[in-house]
Amino acid sequence: MDVGDLLTKLENLINECDVDTETPFSLQAALDANDVLPLDSMGLFDLGMKVEDTLGVRLSDEEMIASRHARFLFSVIKERMHL
């Protein structure tokens, strides 16, 4: 898996959660704009579980909270996956 694959997979996982947007969420756009994910705390629980099950990365509770910021989420997963 390369960084592009991760971006696509992570974006799909986020969109599988109950996102608070009417149109599909674009992770690349959120990274570019240094935006936050359109997820509340329950949506983050859901995403955390999907990330662990799909990508094998377990985020700590603190990382989970910080993961509301798209850049943090993407960078921490990228680092854990050695990409």
């Binding site: 329950m42 629980f45 859901d46 955390g48 579980m49 509770d61």
Partner: protein, 327 residues
């Protein structure tokens, strides 16, 4: 397998209502999220004089008056609560006197939460099946709001106080209705994820917040979504049944988000799993009996095979199949 039949369910709800707007003002978790995402518009809060024994007694009185039952005829009382009137004696003993139950009654408490009703149902099933008793009473009575911090967004306004009285009897004469099989589970390694750290003999010293209920929402969510589907699959396989054998599902009514993800994970349709907590919230051990009372009162209820499953504090889970007559 002849089991027990639920002869009647009655619910007592405290009068005081806590709206989602009021809970939002106290915690910061918006009323919109509470209503749309959690499915909770309001919960009931027990007043100071509405002790678990008092609420239990009122539920028993409602049941007996409505169904014309004599309280003296119940041979056992299994009372489920995690917030008893006192550490001792058991709340069941207090209820025996308050509700005018027989002095010869076999009465005891079970300290269990969201799995508690099915645990009690299993014990009643065993007591009746053994031939020791013919009919009895299960009471669930819960006042979680006594131990909830009003500023805690993870718990305040999500849990509602309630009591249920459930009359149970042998199903020997109603072979088409009753309990069929049970399954249980315990994972004490997760005990700290839903806990009140003070009040017991291992009371932990620390900050004042320890007196309140602590819930690790993420851990509970993962426990439910990761474990309950496979536990149910394992149970159904042991009974030579499939999901298609089940007409309806009554899970512990935690909140719309968690129950929705559970249903999704199990590949069930939303309509197959009864869910109705908008005016009561998560009522812990009362949630399944209230759901059953509401389900069977709906115009569309046609009876059939029902899977009940409670899960939560412990961590623990318990489930069973209950067959209603088809109509």
């Amino acid at each position: 397998m002849t089991g027990l039949r639920i002869a009647g369910i009655a619910t007592y709800l405290p009068e005081k209502i806590l709206t989602s707007e009021a809970a939002a003002a106290s915690t910061g978790l918006s009323a919109e999220i509470r209503k749309t995402k959690l499915g909770i518009n309001s919960v009931r809060i027990a007043a100071a004089d509405e002790t678990p024994s008092e609420m239990a007694t009122r539920a028993i009185q409602i049941l007996c008056q409505r169904d014309g039952l004599d309280p003296q005829t119940f041979e056992f009382l299994i009372l489920v609560t995690q917030n008893p009137d006192y550490r001792l004696p058991t709340t069941a003993c207090i209820v025996q006197a308050k509700a005018g139950l027989s002095r010869q009654i076999f009465a005891y408490d079970i300290n269990q939460g969201c799995s508690g009703f099915v645990v009690a149902l299993a014990q009643a099933h065993g007591l009746i099946k053994s031939g020791l008793f013919r009919q009895g009473l299960i009471v669930t009575t819960e006042v979680y709001n006594r131990i909830i911090d009003p500023s805690d967004k993870d718990t305040f306004g999500l849990f509602g106080d309630a009591a249920c009285a459930i009359a149970v009897t042998s199903a020997a004469e109603t072979p088409q209705e009753g309990t069929r099989g049970f399954f249980f589970g315990t994972d004490g390694s997760g005990a700290g994820h839903l806990i009140q750290r003070t009040g017991g003999s291992a009371a932990e010293t620390g900050v004042a917040r320890d007196a309140f209920l602590y819930m690790n929402g993420r851990a509970i969510f993962e426990f439910v979504v990761r474990n309950i589907p496979s536990e149910i699959d394992r149970f159904l396989a042991s009974q030579n049944l499939t999901k298609n054998s089940i007409d309806q599902w009554v899970f512990h009514q935690a909140n719309r988000f968690m129950n929705g993800r559970l249903v999704q994970q199990m590949g069930l349709s939303e309509e197959a799993a009864f869910f109705d907590i908008s005016d009561i919230g998560n009522t812990v051990s009362c949630s399944i009996p209230i759901a059953l009372e509401r389900l069977t009162a709906t115009a569309t209820f046609r009876g059939g095979r029902t899977l009940l499953c409670g899960f939560g504090v412990g961590l623990s889970w318990a489930g069973c199949i209950y067959d209603f007559p088809r109509n």
